[in-house]
Amino acid sequence: MEQVTIWNRLGKGLNYTLLTLLAATCVIPFLYVISVSLTPISEVIRKDGLVLIPSHITWTAYEEIMQGGRLFDAYKVTIFRVVVGTLLNMLFTVTMALPLSRKAMPGRSGFLMFVVFTMLFSGGMIPSYLIVKEVGLLNSEWALIIPGLVNAFYLMIVKSFFEQLPEAIDEAARIDGAGEISILVRIILPLSMPVIATIGLFYAVWHWNSYFDALLYINSPENQPVQLFLRQILLASVAISGDAAEAANSVNPVSVQMASVVVTTLPIVAVYPFIQKHFTKGVLVGSVKG
């Protein structure tokens, strides 16, 4: 039926080409960064920094960033906030979403307003800092977890999901004498695995990637997460202009910077292919009614 004109074919070719180019821009930077991180510094200087594929591989940049245990400390903080933080996020989000999903619960709309209002108006950065200081969390790794315990938007997504579960199931369980907690654990949670997985992953990625809260709340170097570790290495060198030789002599030669990018990114990129489909589902769950 459809006429295959030359324009149609050209358009199709152009479309595929542009899409391929876009996808390439999402992958090639990493390959380049990995390549530079594995290049001997002498080669960087000899080739004036223009390295695409190293002639031989060296791990010195990685050995260098491992030195002094800074990276190890930073990783500990990040893993702590990702694991403990996400678990607490989920615990609080689910325990709030459950009552808020009960349409007959007296006071429900008031509680909902209470939560929703925080999505519309906030005290801002400085008052948030003041309260974190007031409750004595400054400089503690808990400052990376407790101030962001519940994301109101995610809470609403989980709440909406719970509301869509058939009430009959949980009525039946109640008649069978099951308590609220056992209904939650045995019936609601298993039925809600898609949304739980998605929101859990959102929280985990947020924990892995945030850096500003750590900058704001944490001064002591041993409690700083990997994102801040990377930031410091990058910023120390950006101001330095000039030639490759100078870059090589600077505090953080380019291979060290790139090795730091790699160690900060690798865990996310490594798990990404496996978790990606959960995320896309989550976007759509959230858009049903945000």
């Binding site: 899409l19 619960m105 930031r231 910077q257 858009s287």
Partner: protein, 301 residues
């Protein structure tokens, strides 16, 4: 009846108990900071603490609006936001339309998977990639410039470059992810409409104009309204990492200024006042947006 009420009480008793810790969190970390906004009206003194510091009325606001920075940072905020609106907002729509035209499912899925990836990277990492390519000494682009005898450009510290860099990296980071919602909406368009159009001899462009775009119109409008309501949220995490004293003239926005003045210069009262100014405008805009969104595809919350 009495039994039923008692039953309900017992039932919701557990529910209230479950709700309580979370509510406490919201009180302490969301509502108490709203009370601390009082700092905006005080001459905050660290030693005396918030409540012992003297009230000074609107003086912090006057200091800000009469100062030299107000115009610059509000201007930067609006300008960067407008650039993002013009360039970053349509990008995922175009990508979704392009992906929608792809007939091979494998190709489509591969492109989607790869273009979502940047969404999961922190801005620090993305800045690391920028350093890899654009650093004046060792960046790949500058090495190429050098090889071809061109002058090196300090992209990362050049105030004339910073806004373009912000918008470009924003598009790169968000385009794939942003396309998801449009793709879902495109998938919801009734295929028989296209069949009928083909029978009538409508070209691809006419199909795009008369079927595809009207089919996703509501989603576009809803997201546009949401975007407009967040016009003052320019992407703090992104701008903060890309900002330095050399390019700050063109990229210093409200929140980065609040951080610098409040946390680094210790002028807590002034910084809180400016933060409050932003919060209030944001609040008004989001209320307006919700009202508008109701007309299209249901409300936001």
């Amino acid at each position: 009846m009495v039994h039923a009420t008692k039953n309900a009480m017992r039932r919701y008793g557990v529910m209230y108990a479950l709700l309580l810790p979370g509510l406490l969190y919201f009180v302490i970390f969301k509502y108490v900071p709203m009370v601390y906004i009082a700092a905006a009206f005080k001459d905050y003194n660290v030693l005396r603490g918030l409540w012992e510091s003297p009230w000074i009325g609107w003086q912090n606001f006057e200091t800000f609006f009469n100062g030299v920075y107000a115009g610059q940072i509000i201007g930067n905020t609006l300008l960067i936001s407008a650039y993002k609106l013009i360039f970053s907002f349509p990008a995922p729509i175009i990508l979704a339309l392009m992906l929608n035209a792809v007939t091979s499912n494998g190709f489509k899925r591969t492109i989607q998977t790869l273009t979502y990836l940047p969404h999961f990277l922190s801005w620090v990492v993305i800045y690391g990639l920028l350093v890899a390519f654009l650093a004046p000494g060792s960046g790949l682009v500058n090495q190429l410039f050098n090889t071809f005898g061109l002058e090196r450009i300090s992209f990362l510290t050049e105030s004339g470059m910073i806004r373009s860099l912000i918008v470009t990296t924003d598009i790169w980071q968000s385009v794939g992810w942003g396309a998801i919602i449009y793709l879902a909406s495109l998938a919801g368009i009734d295929p028989s409409l296209y069949e009928a159009a083909k029978v009538d001899g409508a070209s691809r462009w006419r199909q795009l104009w008369h079927i595809t775009l009207p089919g996703i119109r509501n989603v576009i409008i809803l997201l546009l309204v949401l975007r407009l309501s967040a016009i003052l949220d320019v992407g703090f995490d992104q701008i903060f990492i890309m900002l330095n004293p050399l390019n700050q003239e063109n990229a210093d926005v409200i929140e980065t200024w609040v951080y610098r003045v409040g946390m680094q210069e210790g002028r807590i009262g002034l910084a809180t006042a400016v933060g409050l100014f932003k919060s209030i405008i944001g609040f008004v805009l989001v209320l307006g947006a919700n009202k508008m969104a109701k007309k299209f595809d249901g409300q936001i919350w």
